[in-house]
Subunit: 329 residues, 2 copies
Amino acid sequence: MADVARRAGVSSMTVSRSFKTPDLVSAAVRERVAEAARQLGYVPNLVAGNLASSRSRMVGAVVPTLANSNFLGTLKGLSDRLRQEGYQLLLTETGYDRREEAAAVAALLGRRPDGIVLTGAEHDPAVARTLRGAQVAVVETWDLRGPFIDMAVGFSHRAAALALGRLVVSRGYRRIGYVDFPHPQLRRFRARRSGMRKALDEAGLDPSLVAAVGDEGYAGGRSGLEALLARAPDLDAVVCATDVQAIGVLFECARRGWPVPERLGVAGFGDFEIAAEVPPGLTTVRTNGRGIGIAAAELILGRQEGGRTGTPIVDLGFEIVLRGSLRDG
Amino acid sequence: MADVARRAGVSSMTVSRSFKTPDLVSAAVRERVAEAARQLGYVPNLVAGNLASSRSRMVGAVVPTLANSNFLGTLKGLSDRLRQEGYQLLLTETGYDRREEAAAVAALLGRRPDGIVLTGAEHDPAVARTLRGAQVAVVETWDLRGPFIDMAVGFSHRAAALALGRLVVSRGYRRIGYVDFPHPQLRRFRARRSGMRKALDEAGLDPSLVAAVGDEGYAGGRSGLEALLARAPDLDAVVCATDVQAIGVLFECARRGWPVPERLGVAGFGDFEIAAEVPPGLTTVRTNGRGIGIAAAELILGRQEGGRTGTPIVDLGFEIVLRGSLRDG
DNA sequence: TGCTTCGATGTTAGCGATACCAGGATCAAC
DNA sequence: GTTGATCCTGGTATCGCTAACATCGAAGCA
């Protein structure tokens, strides 16, 4: 930077200003500085800048896994919105492991990010304590059950499952099974199951047809379907905890030559891209993952101006998407 | 840090050492420092450390899009391997936009990462120049056609498509169409098409049945199939530039009631998770995206020790995966 | 003309760590 | 007892930038 200053015949402070706050510098000087910088191939060192200003313009994102299209939308929304403001994303994957998450958060904190976005898992109390003490904006996403460390964006998984369950019931299905993914650290799956159960209870239907599978992928749907059929051969609909499982069920039906929705109604959760494409179309809950990411970015950006405090909790809601995998009325 | 030092009754230099190089500090002192740090909730400021040591233990990753499961595997491999060594990932998405990519690289460089991984796109000459001048380890991934900025990991898309094409021919298909995704910045799709063409030429088959679609998703497969059928109603096989397109073709066949592989053979590229699950199973090219990420990490880590220079180019190869979407011999 | 006001630039002092060089114990060997 | 090697610890000078304040000339205004 000193070299640029010398070459442009100004002080280094002016160089700094002409990059960070160009409108405080006269046009002529700004031009000379830009020219000198170009000639020297100068790239401002943000590390030094961060240290001096104690603002990093970085946001840490902690996700359990990248394999899940769910979180991808959120990550994308977050990244897009942050990039618009010149922020960058520091990404860490934890693999649903609490120990890893704690380590990841500690490592992130060392870089003094301006915010941290936690996605889709329950946290170790130690993590919560560390974060609370760290004076950093924290947004928890997807789940909307507190208590929260700081801020949160998401929607009610229970309400969504309830609405979906009611829809299935209203279409005349009576022997409805549920394929669950009971991961101990993912309370949103508990919430979905609870909503589903309520819908069945309301309708006076048997709520006990639940298959707990350890796989949120296609294979989980297949094995869940098999388990349910073993207990209730007259099963007429299956709701799955995730779209991917539901697609797995659809594939298994295709393999068996079972027509959907006539022999079996199917519904999922998430509205992944494939839900609209797979024949006959998967009825599901659309969850605005991207919106969650954008909202999380807004919350963090809002904190930067030293502005609002308090604990914003944003509920982005959901939407039921009707497709061919459920029969009409 | 000074507080920790005072509380532990040592100099700040010793505190620094007991975090960075614990074996240079006596056990007693290390213990006291750790205790003091715990009591004070001290988290070392890596920003300051980076500035002083001019090593950041961060790696920048530039991907065109997160929507593509291709790159996810690479990102995951990269992130996993780097995390093992205590490195963190700075993620930027560019949306296949060269301008964005240039901006992203410049912004990344400002943070002085120890390495940069570029994924799956051609680069602006200005970007290449900037990177070359920046004294940073650069790895380009997926494509293996030079010239490279620095290092590269990938495989030959042409060889893979050629092998796949030969397989389709060997199974007795004669009217073979290709669904292409001719993105101007993605030369790997050109390479795939060229390999395919060679396979057909070799066999004396008509290589002109190519549908260029502007969508690498399911809809691209569907519309590609329709375009091919319009030109060749006797089409008996379709190879797609990506698995997702191929799945789109399979779905369209299901919709039409066409049996696969009897009425139509189908093959894709990528071996995404769904390829194994969709009935009757998609024959495709497995590409070890995760391995690419891991190898990229290794290359960057190798550079850190001031070790090897030169230009390692790593070819990870590919594998043809046979599934039910092609008939036997 | 003399005063304030304001916009553009310069000066100084850190930000919180590490690199590098010294210094003081301790210990084995002669 | 002296020497030299080894181990641990401390002092000092940066790393490259920005916050905060100081400065200075050119307007603006009575």
